[in-house]
Amino acid sequence: MTEDKKSLFIEGKEVEFTNEPNLLEVIRKAGMNVPTFCYRPDLTSFGACRMCVVEVEYPNGRKMINSSCTMPPEAGIKVKLNTEKTRRIRKTVLQLLLANHDRKCLTCERSGNCELQQYAEEYGITDIPYAEKDDFLPVDHSSPSIVRDANKCILCGACVRACSEYQHSVLGFANRGSKTLVQPMNGKPLANSECVNCGQCAAVCPTGALTINSQIEKVWKEITNPEKKVVVQFAPSVRVAIGEMFGLEPGVNSTEKINAALRAIGFDLVFDTNFSADLTIMEEAAEFVERVKSGKNLPLFTSCCPAWVRYLELEHPDMKEHLSTCKSPQGMMGAIIREYVPKYYEDITPENLVSVSIMPCTAKKYEATREQFKMENGKQEIDYVLTTQELGKMIKSAGIDFKNIEGQPADTPFGKYTGAGTIFGVSGGVAEAAARTAYNMVTGEELKDVVINDMRGTHRVKTVELDLKGTKIKVKIVNTLKEAEKCLREIKEGKADYQLLEVMACPGGCINGGGQPLSHNDSNIKEERAQGLYTDDATGQWRKSHENPEIIDLYKNHLEKPNSHKAHELLHTSYSDKRKDCYISAGE
């Protein structure tokens, strides 16, 4: 046996391991599993819940119980997963957690996909020998994106780690012992906190303590109202993830199935946010070329990620001039639907039009409520935002056989898209799409090799140099706000040599957004979703935003050219200093 290839024994079976960070990963690699609440492969190990305990026997005969998520694998050890002792420990943990838990499971948002519920069932917890608590803490419904219910928190700390390792530690542990709580500073409502609504806390929460603020019932009410015409758009990343809720593999492209399912639910018109991603590229590439020429407010920051935009408005309002003035694809489609759908469809009027979007993202719910997206009549351009998870629930409740539904195309004239639009969903995709069109704008020629491999991959930081026939451009691509913060400091210190900064707040980009189907214990799922988008790009009819025939028509018939007066009116937005609205401005 070589030095870097060692082995241990799991349930009598010899298993090789190399650089797995902990025993739990070795167990999973061997095709076995143990339960856990607090272990999340993309976050640091915490060892809080004690569900993953295993019995370990060392070569010298010493035996011990250890949590497999915090124990490094050692050569020669014999590991037993399900002994009388480990099962007893897990059962006790479950009973104690349930003793302190709000047991109103039937009406819980996470009923059916709650890990506590699942393990309680798997471990045959039919009886909790402790009295149910009767003092409940208030539930925080303040945020448009996230609901926080401390009564369902099991203190596994996954959300606290996600918030600190990806973003900027809005959630923290407070108090100690039996009074411990997970909350923002002094229990402030999330809406008034510095939370950017990314939803990664809810994505890692094993229970119903942090959930998505659902708008499903409001949307059903509009759909079932015969007076209303409900127009829907759905984002790039939704198509490669929703299938997971119906037994399809992650990354399978369900664009046409989604079109069909949305119509079956009762939406009147189905448009594709990929179309407006193409539109975003037209505007943003033009803006970028303009800024490079003038040299002002460089690097240009992408503005598609509402969590990132809010972060900048809160933490660095002095840098908001760097942000692209382009609305996000959701925002652009929202404006286009309001402006043009009543012109193309005579049964739809500004009064009966309801605009819904389906996003992989909880922050998009917040984005839709921004004051910049308020119309003259006081209503918001986009009425409701649903996440991929919520759409999955609607499809289920409508009794649609998603797996077997026959695909349909989207509606015209905002339903066609290019590969550039579809890769918006993955970190690096916006920059890659922009490069394809910027090349054309700068050189007047078409880029031949459209795939820029250095921009691909879900890792956190990528730096790419491009040569637009003599015009040298440097692009930095980061995901998570923790990495974005480092870039902002670089820029403030004058150390940044790039002209474009692409930021997505979620690790890997929108494909791993806070509204996507839950994938707690499999960090490969986001890679497969990313691959799904890249395949969609490679197999589509067009790969550059400026080749999209409907985009060409939109400019020809209505908008004239990118960054025209009309385009600015509809497709661009402004940013404001949000710091003073939040307690973080204390002392300023």
Binding site: V170, G172, A174, R176, Y583, I584, A586
Partner: protein, 165 residues
Amino acid sequence: MSGSNTAIDFRAIDKILEKYEYKKSYLIAMLQAVQEIYKYLPEDAMTYIGEKVDELSPATVYGVATFYAQFSLEPKGKYEIKVCDGTACHVRGSMPVLNAIRNKLDLKEGKLTSDDGLFSLETVSCLGACGLAPVVMINDKVHPQMTSDAISIILDTLLSEERGQ
């Protein structure tokens, strides 16, 4: 936005942060220095530290402040009353003394500071004066062998002094 009614001198907090080089490993020392000034930790001061020090956030500072019993998040009264509830004081009747103080100052369960801001009350685990049990400290003065009646008289004296002023 202000989260508490104490006016905070943020320049004084800046000095504390400078002294500790804005390092998060000195957080407890920073909080102690803030508490030295205000006798408690005003919310805005915790937020300010969370924003100014790298790798800290308001929520993480609050987490540390609420973890340790040495930090108070409520303003302290002019007279800080500490009732010893160590083993010796407890068996010699510190609880009746504590209850007498609560009744006298109208401090219901959980409330630490009287409405007039004169008195704040806490229990401590041992003052190291077990021979004098039960012991009550009011600010820096130790009152030995307390009873409910004795503490009532002491509080009455303080109250009448306050009224006389």
